[in-house]
């Protein structure tokens, strides 16, 4: 198998980033608290890339991403809590189970709804998010170990920075490979013009469902990892505000840009913690105001998002060996609307 130069550079940069974090850890600059922030930001990258696939690349608007994140978290958490022994094997089994369940549920929701055009998915996923939240709050009445409204704890905290970092890297590479394949091109053509894509021989329902299932499975995967890095799962962590978090990251980063999603997800995680440090206890009250302000400012200053449609060269396929290039723009998967 040929490994492209871009991939090698990407891996080298990842190694440098890894070494840097390790240095900060060893010198004690990175406290345990900020390590946790970083780890969770990386988990968010995985979930946000899922939504990026659904909304940024396929143009399907989902308002219930956190529900799938929560499904993955609870599934993985409960499997490892009940059957696991804290080993790495059970970590992988449980997070894969979380991803699979989230993907399966997405398939069941997506199949009927994604036959329709336009924004029905947004409404359906919004409703689904509420169902999941209510379900989580009352889950202890059926399965006591889930804890219901009081939350669930006791999942082995197997995940650490090393593990999460490798998983993020793998997910980034897989998503990149998907986007720059014929499947990714089918998805972006649906985003650009669904009717034209249909008329050009692309089974639009199939690829909308595929991207929705993959994206939700990534949310489930992220949730599963989260359950292994944060000891306490609570329904409130997976409500509409969390879905809004993901949406904000994808839109702010720029639709149709993996780079934007990745950087914004990490930046967003740190920004929230900085605000929490500055505002102290008021943070919870002010959160809604700050979200709204950030969105308004972003839309005024940069409506197309930070990286709209642009990717770091590292994430792109090899540039074309063209004799004449009259355009400045390079091949990329393009922006959203």
């Amino acid at each position: 198998m040929k490994i492209s130069r871009q991939t090698i550079i990407l891996l080298i940069l990842a190694a440098v980033f890894y070494a840097l974090v390790k240095c900060l850890q060893l010198t004690g600059v990175l406290s345990q608290y900020w390590q946790l922030v970083l780890d969770q930001a990386l988990v968010t990258v995985i979930g946000a890339l899922g939504l990026s696939l659904i909304y940024g690349f396929t143009g399907q608007f989902s308002l219930g991403h956190a529900a799938f994140y929560g499904l993955g978290a609870y599934t993985a958490g409960v499997i490892d809590k009940v059957y696991g022994n804290g080993s790495i094997l059970f970590f992988f089994i449980s997070i894969l189970a979380g991803a699979l369940l989230a993907g399966l549920v997405a398939l069941i929701i997506g199949l009927p709804i994604l036959r329709l055009r336009s924004d029905y998915l947004g409404i359906a996923t919004l409703g689904f998010g509420i169902i999941v939240r209510v379900g989580m709050e009352n889950a202890n009445k059926v399965i006591p170990v889930l804890g219901g409204a009081t939350g669930m704890s006791g999942t082995p905290q197997t995940a650490n920075f090393d593990l999460i970092f490798v998983l993020v890297l793998v997910v980034i590479l897989l998503v990149r490979n998907f986007i720059f394949s014929t499947y990714g091109r089918a998805c972006t053509s649906i985003r650009e013009d669904e009717i034209a894509a249909d008329l050009m021989g692309i089974d639009t329902t199939r690829y909308k469902v595929l991207s929705f299932v993959l994206g939700c499975a990534l949310a489930g995967l992220a949730g599963g990892i989260y359950a292994h890095r944060y000891p306490f799962l609570h329904p409130a962590s997976f409500d509409f505000l969390k879905s809004f978090d993901f949406l904000l990251i994808v839109v702010l980063g720029g639709l149709g840009s993996m780079t934007g999603t990745i950087f914004t997800a990490i930046g967003w995680g740190f920004l929230l913690e900085v605000l929490r440090a500055v505002l102290g206890e008021n943070f919870i009250d002010w959160r809604g105001v700050i979200y709204a302000l950030i969105l308004i400012v972003a839309i005024i200053l940069r409506p197309q998002g930070l990286f709209s449609g642009k990717e770091l060269g590292l994430l792109l396929p090899r540039p074309l060996p063209l004799t004449t290039t009259s355009g400045k723009e390079r091949t990329h998967a393009g922006t959203g609307n």
Binding site: M1, S181, R185, G201, T325, S326
Partner: protein, 257 residues
């Protein structure tokens, strides 16, 4: 056997008979023009053939098989491609990706190959790239391959639409006003282009056009529609002198000056 055989085709929108008792047979290699005043139902016929609308009545046979009722992507995969009156490119994608996306149904690697970038993925991607670039070169767009589709000038966008439809390897090409908004020089280049691709790709072409220069030059046979019905058929010369056609376009009492 005709490539396309349409019998008693009709489409109603509520009480409006947009297409009524429409008949058409296309022989292989023909270039046939579909003309008529605005609102005559020409684009509706295209939408019926390509599966955007399901016919109210009648049948559409393509290559001897009935295709009405199939979803648009299946009809395209069987070999009917089209362009649009108001250009519908994948605007934000590169020119190259506009063409490459259409290769999708014939790509011979699966999802796993894509995720792992297997040798099969690499080989297929190379083939798709080479064939797409060849297609772009045929339509004189090769040096624009990396540009955003929406950044192209109007004429190039029209040609890109044709390139994109050719990427699906059609037997029948439906062109919806390919020369709309073009000046006489551009129109004559478009005539040459349509002739060239027809020969090169062994196409049968059905085209809607208002530019009479183009229609008269290019088409072997014309079908004239008005109010959803066929009012005349014949060679361009016959149509030019047909009083019914003149009446439809210009009103009663008109004569050729």
């Amino acid at each position: 056997m005709p490539v396309l055989e349409i019998k008693a085709l009709s489409k109603n929108f509520g009480g409006l008979k947009a297409v009524n008792n429409f008949q058409l047979e296309l022989e292989e290699g023909e270039i046939v023009g579909l003309i008529g005043p605005n609102g005559a139902g020409k684009t509706t016929v295209f939408n019926l053939i390509t599966g955007i609308y399901v016919p109210t009545g009648g049948s559409i046979m393509f290559g001897g098989e009935q295709i009405n009722g199939l979803p648009p992507f299946r009809i395209c995969q069987r070999g009917i491609a089209r362009t649009f009156q108001n250009i519908r490119l994948f605007k934000e994608n590169s020119v190259l990706d506009n063409v490459r996306a259409v290769f999708h149904p014939r790509v011979r690697y699966n999802l796993l190959d894509a995720f792992l970038r297997s040798p099969r993925y690499n080989a297929e991607e190379e083939r798709i790239l080479a064939e797409s670039m060849e297609l772009l070169a045929t339509l004189n767009l090769a040096d624009r391959a990396n540009q955003k589709a929406s950044s192209l000038p109007y004429g190039d966008q029209r040609r890109l639409e044709i390139a994109r439809s050719l990427a699906s390897r059609p037997k029948l090409l439906l062109l919806d006003e390919p020369a709309a908004g073009m000046n006489p020089g551009e129109v004559s280049r478009m005539v040459d282009l349509v002739r060239m691709i027809k020969e090169k790709f062994n196409l049968t072409v059905l085209l809607i056009e208002h530019q009479m220069g183009m229609v008269m030059n290019l088409c072997e046979r014309l079908v004239v529609m008005d109010f959803g019905q066929i009012i005349a058929t014949g060679t361009p010369a016959e149509i030019r002198d047909n009083p019914v056609v003149l009446e439809a376009y210009l009103g009663k009492g008109a004569t050729v000056a």
